[in-house]
Symmetry: C2
Subunit: 461 residues, 2 copies
Amino acid sequence: MNLDFLFYPKSVAVVGASNKEGKIGNAIMKNLMNFGFKGKIYPVNVKESEVMGLKAYKSVLEIPDDVDVAVIAIPAKFVPQVVEECGQKGVKGAVVISAGFKEAGNVELEEKLVEVARKWNIRVVGPNCLGITNIENGFDCTFNPPERQARPGFGGIAFMSQSGAFGAAILDWAAKHEVGMSKFISLGNMADLDESDFMTYLGEDPKTSVITAYIEGVKNGRKFFNTAKKVTLKKPVVILKSGRTEAGAKAAASHTGSLAGSYAIYKAAFEQSGVLEARSMRQLFNYAKALAMQKPAKGDRVAIVTNGGGAGVMMSDGLLERGMKLAELSETTNEKFRKAIEEGKLPEHMSYKNPIDIIGDAPSSRYEIAMRYALEDENVDVLVVIALFQSPALDEGIVEAVGRMQEYGKPIVFVAPGGEFPEKMARRIEKTGVPVFETVEDGVDAVYALVKYGQYLEDTM
Amino acid sequence: MNLDFLFYPKSVAVVGASNKEGKIGNAIMKNLMNFGFKGKIYPVNVKESEVMGLKAYKSVLEIPDDVDVAVIAIPAKFVPQVVEECGQKGVKGAVVISAGFKEAGNVELEEKLVEVARKWNIRVVGPNCLGITNIENGFDCTFNPPERQARPGFGGIAFMSQSGAFGAAILDWAAKHEVGMSKFISLGNMADLDESDFMTYLGEDPKTSVITAYIEGVKNGRKFFNTAKKVTLKKPVVILKSGRTEAGAKAAASHTGSLAGSYAIYKAAFEQSGVLEARSMRQLFNYAKALAMQKPAKGDRVAIVTNGGGAGVMMSDGLLERGMKLAELSETTNEKFRKAIEEGKLPEHMSYKNPIDIIGDAPSSRYEIAMRYALEDENVDVLVVIALFQSPALDEGIVEAVGRMQEYGKPIVFVAPGGEFPEKMARRIEKTGVPVFETVEDGVDAVYALVKYGQYLEDTM
């Protein structure tokens, strides 16, 4: 399924484009014009002759050019007629922002919309959605203003959301945390295109390396399962499914009309189709960030290198509580450590039982030795590096040292708890390709995702 | 137990004070001088006549003034002799930064230290610790420089840590997240003063409203249990205990020498003594922040007001998964909502079944009505307010509106997911006394702490 026409349109019509501040059709125009989108923009407004300095048309039919995508933000009852005109015009995709369809009890109106779209072979996003965003080319037809909802930088994580509001929060959050994203889709009512269609598309999208989603219920269970099974062999899929409890399911029913169904069935379907299930927003991003930046692990044996004993203990607990193992370092590795200590390259009071505690006064050179020994050990599948940057002994050479460790081809997760200085270092380390997390528990999530997805691939392929 | 002499000293001797950059005795001097501490500082150094512009003394005995606290940062083997001199001088407390005692196998040296201290009735913090900090008066004898480890503002949360490095990370983290703290104690080897002693002191400290701790193992189980049982009746105690798993316990044994003992026993002891157990750093702070800012809940029935359906569903799941309930709103409340909708004060398509979804275009006036109705309902013990600030419809009047809700005397937890704008609003809302959290899951933690501690008090008192 190729939906490139939706995300890389050469020309877009905005039906309901408006000069009036506060109108959705005004906000969409601004967002289309403000993030670098290079395609043509054609405002459509029955009353205005010009919108935001661009010539406006009474109907898409009047536009003297091909139109790839129509973004529709007008009262619901007029939407089917506009889609009809889009069909006559040869429009390929319609993003229907308008609410007032099935979610408001107007089931027939939504059926009518789908009927017209099918007749003309138009693919529909929504209705009742926030729009879609392609971070790569700045095609952003959502309607929240940038001063309220920042846009993330370009990166490998795609996100689709059954909740527009939560989707907006996610984009805003990703921007603040400097997590790069590829594409965002507000799914809305999924009258036509649903989560499985987008999963298929994103599975083939070379700009997306991890697919993430917030859903309350899937539209078609069988289709979802078969799609997920195929896509997860190509790239990781991480889903936050809400409506897990009775109260949550009730709330979901009144929110998106999703019959959440038994959570146990979802859980089993995720498990069997290789979908990683996140239980919270932060976990969703921890999983996604790890998988976007590192290769899945070949096994569950983790080595920890730390300059703080306490953090090493907490990391050990976290890993074991999530079903992973601490790697038992080989005799060869122990011997290497013993020799380095003898030669004065490593301090006498350190512990080289895993967690490898290189103690509080460790400079980056000491990290480098310990990281190498751990990564060279065949009993180690994943390396966790914990750095408490509050210690002034830890020099900035750690950035390059960690970067060099990627030559071993084993996944690495970095944890740097604290405030501003660690955060600054984190962003620098991430430029070398190693993901950095703010807390031990976030790091545990990251390792879990790499191990769990690796296991699934191992078991399946 | 009054340890005010340790945290509010009139005069401090720094034994091992140094002019040399990079020396611990230099870093301690700087920190004592840099955060507003008004007491007298007497550097002690056998070789220097002046340190950092202050007259230096060869021994504490030469200081021509009373000395309340001696901070000791010299090689371990000289420490007992210095403590002996401190005793002769009438020093009341010694903070022993020096490492090289029990943790390095030198058990006898540590026993010697304790013996001398007992003889002179000197209370000892450490040895092998990072120092202590009183945020209130700027008395900070820790040794990490501020450019690596920021200091939080003054507030009600005290923290003690068996891991100095993790303690430093916590302070740095609290500063970044603008969480106010009262006192910080790096426990070190706990040769004399232990976690129970400090718990007793902090329990009586009027500047501390919540006591938090990171521990790997307690020094004396019976003492801890009895102390906790008393203190939790006065104020909440939140503990992050690591070494819960076999691998974690092993790592703890090599880190602090703690025989972590069976985790099941700790768990039971926490439960029975009213200690809230946090499983991660973030949870520790979520619990502490909620309890520092709001009163414990009288029950477990939670109402949710939200402008985003999805976030309401996730919050419902989170609360139920942690054993809480969604409040069933009374018929009176339903009637009020119906009336307000009829009168056009609330929108037709909103849901007033809990979660109360006032939908995406809600301004603060709509929040105010919904919050009041929820808080007036006798079936509601706690109110959760979720605001997706990405919607430009939500005006800044929400700050004052939420502040006004405190008149009902029920605990309120606010959740504002996203990036910079929500964060800015969060800090403003917190000035009214309502704690704000970044994600739904953090908000769930906050409610849990208020409910769980409230239940304990209810059952015990």
